[in-house]
Amino acid sequence: MPDEAFVVQMKGITKVYPNGVAANQGVDFNLRKGEIHALMGENGAGKSTLMKMLFGLEQPTSGEIIVNGEKLELSSPSVAIAHGIGMVHQHFMLVPSLSVAENMVLGMVPRKSGIFIDRAKAIALTREYSEKFNLRVEPEARVMDIPVGMKQKVEILKALVRGAKILIMDEPTAVLTSQETVELFAELKHLKQQGYTIVFISHKLKEIMEITDRLTIMRNGRSMGVYNTKDVTKEDISRLMVGRDVVLSVQKDKAVPGDTVLRVRELEYMNEWHKKMLDKLSFDVRKGEILGIAGVEGNGQKELIDSLFGFNVPNSGTATVNGSSILGLNQQKIRALGVSLVPEDRMLYGIAAGASIEENMISDRCADKRYNHGPLFNMKAIHDETDHLIEEYTVLCKNRGQQVGMLSGGNIQKVVVAREFSNNPSLILADQPTRGIDVGATEFIRKKLVELSRSGIAVLLVSADLNEVMELSDSLIVMHNGRIAAYFDDTAGLTDDIMGEYMLGLRKQSPAEIRRACHD
């Protein structure tokens, strides 16, 4: 029986979320005992969903999961753990104020005299596993005091101590420094030698080539195939992973860029774990053009937008809009300088779900003279403005008083976009403007962005959607590891393959080529 070679088989897995999003469509996935298996794909490709189902956090709509030859209903993580499956989450599942040993034994605490925690035993257990797997941790230190690399080791040990034979690691190197990554790889190889099976979710080609035996590539909820790592080239992977299934094209005239609106120079930002997320970033966005930023998520795009909109303060560098510095200003002042933002997470920042469409439309302009009569709102002006925006942006709703939270994702995004596009901006920051919304709304928003840029507005478009960023952008930056890996002043002739190689760090332009992003 050939099946016996596999410790895990997932067959024909389909997952449709209640909101109608099909995250996985007929995915086949398997693991051989004692291998390190990479699961690759862009954000939204469905990797996490697939692994969540293997760990019992989600249940498949259809398809079957076979672990060690036994067909299982993985209804909760506890069931998965009982069958030897462990997961190391990207956001650590640790309790900061408890010690390493306490975190290790949480939920399975050794007792003495039947009542008390047997700390000595917990510490001994931690030491034992720590030595056995060569994962060095300090059992008595509090988790809040230890470095990120050690936290990750605690997470791995937590899974091992619960009897995991199959370890799912969700982007384990995303938070690690390069030394820590080297250490982790040595540890993973060690685990592999002892017969453990590891799923390694990552976008980083170099790492995958270095450490994995086989790899599964996912794109748009489907598997693009399983390969032996040594049989494929980086270029193959990049082509399989980054690519467009359907090329939607948006009609647009050639841009005639004017003066520089946003000027960013030498921008540097370190996050709270002191990892450098933006590394000497310099570029310009000019009037009348759309500058796209492509890149695999987590390469500094979020930090860039946050820095430009006052949500974090960069460590060094400058950013000006029409000559005025915007770094460290509050959102009110940034908006006053003519900057608009379509935020990445619309539910968190973009809207107040419990308020009406109208109330969401005017949040940035509520103090404007046009909408006020002395101390009171000019309700007629506000109604007119809202009705006008609802019509112009074809927001599908009963009336302007309807709660925004009750609308569909696409209509919610249209409300956000209507507000941000209509406040007379000189610069629009559009962060993943069409993520997770229906085709109609997507097309509408894209058209609108082009239209606005042609009317003389500068647009900075950040998108993980290659189709979007390549179709809409007049010029394009690829970000990798907090740096600009490439700048293209024209997207014509760019292929998915070339993009993929820059996005995954296989290629990098020369400093002189990158410097062209600044139009001094």
Binding site: P77, S78, I81, M93, V95, P96, S97, G107, F116, H274
Partner: protein, 323 residues
């Protein structure tokens, strides 16, 4: 002034600090444990009111303080379960649940007192002070040997059974939180409930346990009020101790020892107030002191927390720079 200090330097004064602090200690422990589990129970005041009433009534009908105490505890636990049901099952804001409990605890207890006494005694009474005799109160205990020590003996010996229990529970709660698996689970649920859930700890169960613990402690606090501090129940006799406990929890940094010390500070302030009136000064001048101390304490605590966070941040940055 010197004279006044002389009055303060008596064993009676220190004795009264301990006595007054006891119910606050119970309530503070209640506040500490729920806070560790990640939420706030601001209904302690109401829980204590109900427990105080039921303690004195059960004691009277059963003719034994012991049953009264059990009644108070059962009342506290049962009502805390109701709070838990609304907060966790019906997803009511826990703060609003607390407010509702306090609302009912104020007028509702008087209603129940009147109705119950009317049913059994034939006339509605606005307090149970007339029913409770000394023997129905929880007894005081003389500590052998210790009571022979000069000064200290008079301070430490002769307290109510519950006063000693308050201090004992401080220790026990601390042990429960830091030495038992249950405490570990409570801390884990409060700090990172996903982490707890991911290793199979039932978050809901732990939250119910925490709120029941707060009910139990409120039961002790209430019993102390009506069966030790005073003889019998009267309306609004808890007079803000449940709220003070919330502050003591915050001021004590959420730890048992800190909470104990903060409770004693309130006890001191209140004892001082009583002494003020004893020497003919207006007690209203001293009564607000514990509340003012609370606000000052909260501010100091918040500033310390902020400074500590800043320090950690810069220390980490330094460490990184050195690498």
């Amino acid at each position: 002034m010197l004279n006044f200090l002389k009055i303060l330097a008596t064993p009676e004064f220190f004795f009264s600090i301990i006595r007054i602090s006891a119910p606050i200690i119970f309530a503070t422990l209640a506040a500490i444990v729920v806070e560790k589990a990640g939420f706030a129970n601001i209904g302690l005041e109401g829980l204590m009111m109900f427990s105080a009433l039921s303690g004195s009534l059960v004691s009277f009908y059963a003719g034994s303080w012991f049953w009264g105490l059990l009644g108070a505890l059962a009342t506290g636990v049962l009502l805390s379960l109701v709070m838990g049901f609304f907060a966790f099952r019906l997803k009511t804001d826990i703060i609003l649940v607390g407010i509702a409990m306090n609302m009912m605890g104020s007028g509702g207890t008087l209603f129940l007192c009147k109705v119950i006494t009317n049913l059994t005694q034939g006339k509605a009474m606005a307090s149970t002070t007339g029913l409770i005799t000394k023997s129905l109160c929880i007894p005081n205990i003389t500590l052998p040997l210790i009571n022979k020590i000069p000064f200290l003996g008079a301070v430490l010996s002769g307290h109510n059974l519950l006063t000693y229990l308050a201090f004992l529970f401080c220790l026990l709660t601390s042990i429960m939180l830091y030495k038992t698996p249950l405490g570990l689970n409570i801390c884990a649920v409060g700090e990172n409930s996903n982490a707890a859930a991911s290793v199979g700890v039932s978050v809901l169960k732990i939250k119910y346990i925490a709120i029941m613990f707060s009910g139990l402690m409120s039961g002790f606090g209430g019993a102390f009020m009506s069966m030790a501090y005073a003889q019998g129940w009267s309306q609004d006799m808890v007079s803000g101790r449940g709220f003070i406990a919330l502050a003591a929890q915050a001021m004590g940094g959420g730890e048992c020892l800190g909470g104990l010390l903060s409770s004693l500070v309130f006890g001191f302030a209140q004892a001082l107030g009583i002494k003020f009136s004893a020497v003919g000064l207006d007690s209203n001048l001293a009564s607000p002191i514990p509340y003012a101390v609370t606000i000052v304490g909260l501010v100091i605590f918040a500033m310390a927390r902020r400074r500590k966070a800043r320090k950690q941040h810069s220390a980490a940055a330094l460490e990184k720079a050195e690498q």
